[in-house]
Amino acid sequence: MTATTIIGGVVVGFGTIFLFLGGLGILRLPDVYNRLQAGTKCTTLGAVCTIVGVGIIEPGWLCKAVVVALFILLTNPISAHALARASYKSAVPLCEGTVVDKYREFGECEEAGSTAETADATAGSEP
């Protein structure tokens, strides 16, 4: 048991806890956008911590681990953005209790030919 093994193990454990919490969030949260929030953030940090932790345990792999972690860090938010946008475009409803939907107001304004800045009505719960 060297110091690097212990530190790496702690980092891997930290990452797996967040991966678990991300999974729990996907089960518990009410609609697709909230689930994406939990999914994206927790899986990104979880995966990055797990991979870098493995790199710390085996210092020979650290460079490759950092490259993989950077790749995940750059691509994960883009995939979440694509999923959220695709769900919105295919009219997946926002959950009950949603307080504001500026994007719908913006779309209506665009059809009416004015700009988003004039939109000030509060939105309902469905897009």
Binding site: G22, R28, L29, N34, Q37, T40, P77, A84, G97, Y103
Partner: protein, 165 residues
């Protein structure tokens, strides 16, 4: 001249990636990496960097190094935030989609800002259109465009501006 600069920027980035991936300093690997970086850059440089070698100036790289710890701290906070909301029995969420306005002009700057917003507490970029970003916010604190811009994007925008523009 412009396309030469873009070509060189692509080749330098590819070569750096090769060095990280092989993680050796043997002469043969480095030479092979340089040759392949130059060849692959020839195939892909047109779609790559709109600003060429200016993206690799030391000032920008220094800003990037300053920005990384700030970003990681926000990401850590985001995760504890999500964990709190998920584990709490009543789930204190107040979701909504707000619009924010950004001063960033370049596409790469907007991409950088949108990615940062997605990975930080309670926010997820749904759509980027022109100078507006539409953000799904898990706990809406301000519905107004100006206030929301300050709360969501304000902490990153000046860093992103220094790095990308």
């Amino acid at each position: 001249m412009k396309s030469l600069s873009r070509y060189l920027a692509t080749a330098v980035l590819l070569f750096f990636l090769w060095l990280l991936l092989t993680s050796t300093t043997g002469t043969q690997e480095v030479v092979a990496g340089a040759v392949f970086a130059l060849l692959v850059a020839l195939l892909g440089y047109k779609g790559f960097s709109a600003r060429g070698l200016r993206m690799l100036s030391p000032r920008r790289l220094a800003h990037l190094l300053i920005y990384l710890p700030i970003f990681f701290w926000q990401m850590l906070k985001a995760n504890f935030d999500v964990a709190y909301r998920v584990v709490h029995p009543r789930m204190p969420i107040r979701p909504g989609i707000v619009a924010i306005k950004t001063d960033l002009k370049t596409d790469i700057g907007k991409l950088f800002l949108a990615n940062s917003i997605t990975l930080t507490p309670g926010t997820l970029t749904v759509e980027v259109r022109g100078e507006y970003l539409f953000i799904h916010w898990i706990n809406v604190k301000a519905e107004d465009v100006e206030q929301a811009s300050e709360l969501v994007g304000g902490r990153f925008e000046k860093h992103v501006k220094a790095i990308c523009e």
